[in-house]
């Protein structure tokens, strides 16, 4: 069979599987259940393959027993890597009624390693963001309400404009800083607050949060529709139009 013919069969199988999975939109049915199980089987099978071929073989087995390459380079094996096997096995005690506490040892190691990184992570992530949130909220010039047009100006003139804070920018910066603080206060003071200023801040925070959520919704919709369009393109254009009808 030519590779091009094979591709048609491969796409055909993908189209059939797509239709099978989409059939759930009508109602739960046997065809959907069949492909759902095919999907789970293939995904878990690949996970098994990839964990060995992409990770364990190189990171564990080869380091544990060492390697000898064709060009004569021999790398020693580090026997202590075998100790990870019993530790990993402890995770499987999660299914034992009597000894399931032991599964918390490997999980505790992973969680410990994760939580220990949080201090470093915090400063790396939020340090620059805190700095970027401290914006000038007072104008430095009143020559214009908004930022003037830069068209036809010399680089020096543009640099002067860029170096100033115009009233419109100051207002925008104030809104930015206020939004950060009020949303944060909404999170920190989620209990019933009596202080009027704080109450105003948390209420504003709730409204401003909705702007963030609205933007997230807009982006999410774009993503989900794109994924659907990709499927439709695959079924109708790649397979039907370019694959079947063009032959």
């Amino acid at each position: 069979m030519k590779y091009e013919d094979y591709l048609i069969w491969r796409m055909g199988a993908g189209v059939l599987a797509t239709i099978g999975l989409y059939s759930v939109l009508y109602k739960e049915n046997k065809l959907y259940r069949f492909f759902e199980h095919v999907f789970l089987g293939l995904a878990s099978g690949w996970t098994l393959v990839a964990l060995w071929t992409e990770t364990l073989q190189a990171s564990w087995w080869d380091k544990m027993i060492g390697t000898a390459t064709q060009d004569g380079k021999v790398v020693n094996g580090s026997w202590a890597y075998i100790l990870l096997l019993p530790i990993g096995l402890m995770g499987y005690f999660v299914f034992s009624k009597k000894h399931n506490w032991m599964s918390r040892i490997p999980i505790g190691i992973i969680l410990g390693l994760y939580s220990g990184q949080q201090i470093q992570v915090w400063w790396n992530t939020y340090g620059p963001q805190i700095a970027a949130s401290a914006k000038p909220i007072f104008p430095t010039t009143f020559t214009s309400l908004t930022v003037p047009s830069k068209e036809g100006l010399t680089p020096e003139q543009i640099a002067i404009i860029n170096g100033n804070v115009y009233t419109s920018q100051a207002v925008t910066n104030f809104l930015f800083v206020f939004t950060v603080l009020s949303v944060l206060s909404y999170f920190l003071f989620s209990f019933d607050v009596k202080n009027k200023a704080l109450k105003f801040s948390t209420t504003s925070g709730r409204y401003l949060l909705m702007i963030g959520f609205g933007a997230i919704f807009g982006s999410t919709v774009m993503m989900r529709f794109t994924l659907l369009i990709d499927r439709m393109y695959f079924v109708f254009d790649e397979f039907l139009k370019q694959g079947i009808l063009r032959r």
Partner: protein, 300 residues
Amino acid sequence: MLAQVEVPTFWSEPYNSPALWTKLVVALLIGLAVLVGLMYAPVRARRPIVAVVTFFSGLYWVMLYAWPIPINRQDNQLPNGPVEAVGFWLKDSNSVIVSFTQILTALLFGLGIYSLLRIHLQRIVKTQRDWGFSVVLLACMSLMVFFGYADWNSRLGERGAMLDNPANWGFVNFGRDFLFEGLLQQMDAAMFSVIAFYILSAAYRAFRVRSVEATILLGTALIVILSLMGAVSGLWDDTIRSAANGNTFILNFQLTTIADWIRNTFQTSSLRGISFGVGIGLLAMGLRIWLSLERTGGSA
């Protein structure tokens, strides 16, 4: 500690040597003995065991962050005092710690597969309802394991790089490609794209201008969506530009400018507020897990 060195040490032995195999077997037996020993650990000792293990695992990264680490260290340089010695040790241990974490996580990944096997094998043995689907699942898993592994194995020889070209493929390579690219990837895409239908239905049924919050949310979503629609924003912006006739204030009413302003002024700042809140929570939770104050973490 466990660094690979060519000269045998206590931690490493030559490839395939009797000494290495002996140490491997002894270490495995000791490890299994500890595992069996833990099965008989008294109930009150369990929580401290997990807490100690969790604490020492986290301690490494905390120390790596807090301890002075030598910069511009030369090869074979000896540490200048105990502080630098610890710094050297922390730096040298990094690859081992990272490697150990990868391996342990990979071994725990298998837990999901084991759970899946357990449920479906039970269903087949007991011929429970829909056991036929469990046969399908296990058959697909076996097929993928066979072709996936055989494909990888076929690449290990001298022809490995040549197999990037499908013209050189054999049966197992086609098998892997059919299962992985032909089925798995397409089904993965289909599974995720189904959500588009639900999100449309949810938006139609739930997006109502019932409160101030809902109105703000809907308004922002609408502006973001419209600004992403080049045909709409292009038309709007062209109209504004021709009406502005060079007036910079009116130019601010271009749809893309309004959307950018909302994005840069409110969206980024509100998400940053959320992010700071989440960050503080994560830091607190990280410390609680590390110190076993969180019951979901180091408790037993």
